[in-house]
Symmetry: C2
Subunit: 525 residues, 2 copies
């Protein structure tokens, strides 16, 4: 079976043998994809010329209504996305839910909050400021939807959510989208786009799909377009330095690697409620999606005297956790996405082991449940420990994109904050403590280098939303090595798809333009 | 005389013969600059380690007070900056005022509006949103000053304003600055920094100065730093693709070329008030700073039937305008900044002439008043006309950075908007018309590709603030070829120097952090 591309309002198969999609548990080929020979330039032109104007003649509310319909329609097909997630990603029910239900929730969330923008065609920012003595001449800032297309080059770990969390705010903004899912796991996104197209909810040109290589796609982007990429720092660098992207100052949003941290406060002794909550969180982060989340905890910081107890507590839980074929209902941890990722994990693990001790796992030849180790792509959940985080290099720098976490000892705030900052910019750090001044100092010490900080004390307990869980009302992204991009954060996500400009003009003219506009205050509420 | 660098709290002369600063009227050497051999890495480290923390232990109000003192001190030395502007830029009084008085005004403006942020140490964005049923766990977005340094690589045309319009919001944000003025005109900025250092208003490390080449400066920037560049698209591309900048996702703000437009509405017949206002504006734009403003009008669009009258009106004024040595009080137009710029202008002019007719000027060998054509760097104010803007290439693409403007004929809105958009992203467009629907359609047709749109009707008349005048309360910047950066726009300028992050945590913890924060609503007012 070949999965087609959807371009310029037509399904079109790529030429050549294509790239196989593989079941990472059985090694079986599932389908093939190819973008060879398809006309990417015309596809973008069609999106800009047809999809954009059709979307932008609607108001924000009308586009929110389209999202609501898409959300409903996708929900009706939820089982099929779960089935494909199992096949193409080796996803457990929990894994599939995290991706697919996250996607559905996000679309519905934007459908709901988008209505707040009402009948606006653009956004008015702040008040009009008089620029003349009589007040007849004034200045007013606006945000207006860009007249280009949004190109999404997505990561393999979230084929559903990665597509929906980007497409929802873009479409709500009135900007057509072209999605290029990561090749190895393109099936789920392909199916979702197929369902969206079939439903005919969106106007022609509002959505396009490239399955396979992005080929020379970036040669065709323009000043009005947006490129949003999630994936490796290497590919991010290639996109950022692409000559056409640079030459035209194409707006690029990047979400890349991140060596995220969890921190256990000095006040949290073994056996305390927060100690137990952290252990639970670490276990969830190692096992869910086999650690293949950009937000996964990679480093856990605990005081030197707590490190051993922490290692024992996590190990005890890990040793009771079944890893293998998710078709077996006892299995809690599935494979990584393919053999190439398995190799990359083992290579990274080797680097980490060169400066860390192994607390649990680390067996390159372990036996997954109900799966052939030769054909499948499993990595044993592994817990490492570092007693010398300040001198460590790889711990702060190598992202093993699998079920691997390193415990790092700290002695005081004075060495903790610089060690966490060695991650050079991360998506998220979480901190567990009942010492409110410790929480505050950690937050102020890390905030500028993180997109999100999760703080948990006993008053919050199990009510926190999770270290790795991306809530659409809150910022997702991070500076530095995390790519410097910003996603979600409620209606702030619309900023990426709008352009700020100021009108200096007659008070009447500004009043009329303001009458067409919703208020940007709504973006930051 | 050698102008020194100010790095890590010390004045230090570069080694080697250095680069001469030259009087563009006489060709005389004025001074020399060199950054050879100075330690740029340590300078940035000193700024981050000393300047940043010292600035950030102050509140916004306290930093605004520092700016007020700097503004006062610089004002006291205004005459000296005018003197150096004449020597190093060949600036007329009006030219020097545009740069120097603009700089002083901007510093004082930020001193004034910065006080609104009061005792805050960071900024709270929007309200806390509950993330749990009991409300004990909530999410709150903050903007926090980055813990890095701000590196300014500035343009030759605004040595004073370019320094101050960037430094004021950075310092107000609590971020230390390192300024590298453009080499040919470094003297004015050097003198200003010298005066700031002498005044001891700022804490050590808050300001640094590199005169001469930026050398390997970008090898030393980090995730926490900001690079803000104003200048050519070529240099902008080199900065954007610099491996360390890319690898660390260093935040880069670019303000580059821009083929700005002025539009005369179809309703504005020759002799009407708006026709005359446009003529006046075009003349100002050609003559002021000899057309060397990034916001200067490069293209003037008028209906086919008005073009000839417009050309005659502008030509009549130009022929009465004296060009030459600004020491002669009758002279209204000075030189471009040096021989290299003169050559670049003449080369660009040649390209424009290949597809345009000459309405006025265009004499490569014209005689400036009181100046030797061999030694000086003058370009004759030149007016061109294009009757086929849709087929033109250079008109929309070649920025002659001097006193050169092209008139372009249009027939209707349908060809006007696409022609203006051929600029591929500009800083500013201005539109003169009493037809309110024409104004609105032009604004909505161009807004997403421009940073600023100036609209003038008869109710506004001469009260408008000017096409080329950058008002600190309004956005300066533009998408696409204009670089994609954003500057000024009141307190929005602080966004560049802050990082957005979200705290998900106990309601009490968020309340305490909010207590340290001013409200971001103030940024958008």
């Amino acid at each position: 079976m070949n999965l087609s591309n959807y371009l310029a309002g037509q399904w079109i198969e790529g030429s050549g043998p294509g790239t196989p999609l593989v079941d990472p548990v059985t090694g079986d080929e599932l389908a093939r994809i190819s973008s060879d020979g398809v006309d990417l330039k015309t596809a973008l032109e069609f999106a800009r010329a047809q999809g954009g104007p059709a979307l932008r003649q609607l108001s924000y509310t009308q586009r929110a209504d389209l999202l609501a319909k898409i959300g409903e329609m996708l929900s009706a097909n939820r089982d099929e996305y779960f089935r494909l997630s199992l096949l193409n990603l080796g996803a457990t029910q929990a894994d599939a839910s995290f991706d697919v239900d996250g996607a559905l929730y996000t679309v519905k969330y934007y459908a709901k909050i988008g209505r707040a923008l009402a009948d606006g065609k653009m956004l008015k920012e702040g008040a009009a400021a008089s620029l003349s003595k009589t007040g007849v001449f004034a200045g007013q800032h606006f945000l207006v939807p860009t007249k280009g297309a949004a190109v999404f080059i997505n990561a393999f770990n979230f084929p559903a959510w990665g597509f929906c969390e980007k497409a929802a705010p873009a479409l709500l903004s009135g900007v057509p989208v072209l999605v290029k899912p990561a090749s190895p796991t393109a099936w789920v996104a392909h199916k979702m786009v197929e369902d969206v197209v079939k439903s005919a909810i969106l106007p022609p040109g509002a959505i396009s799909l490239v399955c396979g290589s992005a080929r020379e796609l970036l040669d065709h982007v323009r000043e009005e377009d947006i490129v949003s990429f999630t994936g490796s720092a290497d590919t991010a660098a290639r996109i950022r330095t692409h000559s056409n992207v640079v030459h035209r100052s194409v707006r690029v949003n990047i979400e890349a690697d991140s060596i995220n941290s969890a921190i256990l406060g000095p006040d949290c002794a073994p056996g305390s409620d927060l100690f137990d909550l952290l252990v639970k969180e670490v276990l969830k982060e190692i096992t869910l999606k086999a650690g293949q989340k950009c937000t996964t905890i990679r480093r856990v910081f605990a005081t030197r005297q707590t490190l051993k107890a922490l290692g024992e507590a996590v190990s005890a839980r890990l040793s009771a956790t079944k890893v293998g074929n998710p078709r077996n209902s006892e299995v809690k941890v599935g494979p990584v996405v393919n053999k190439a990722q398995q190799s990359a994990c083992l290579e990274g693990l080797k680097k980490l082991r060169s400066e860390c001790s192994v607390v649990f796992g680390g067996n390159d030849h372990f036996e997954p449940v109900d799966a052939d180790p030769q054909k499948s792509a499993f990595v044993q959940p592994t817990l490492l420990a570092s007693n010398d985080g300040l001198a460590s290099k790889y711990v702060h720098d190598v992202e093993v994109f699998g079920p691997v976490v390193t415990l790092v000892a700290y002695d005081s705030l004075k060495d903790l904050v610089p060690m966490v900052r060695r991650g050079s910019g991360s998506l998220v750090a979480s901190v567990f403590s009942n010492d409110s001044s410790f929480l505050q100092e950690v937050i102020l010490g890390l905030g500028d280098l993180h997109g999100r900080i999760l703080a948990v004390d006993s008053s919050v307990g199990a009510q926190h939303t999770g270290h790795g869980n991306v809530v659409p009302s809150c910022l997702h992204g991070g500076p530095g090595r995390a790519g410097g991009g910003e996603e979600l954060a409620g209606l702030r996500a619309l900023l990426l798809y709008h352009r700020r400009f100021v009108v200096q003009g007659p008070a009447n003219c500004i009043k009329e333009l303001s009458g067409l506009s919703a208020d940007t205050n709504l973006l930051y509420s």
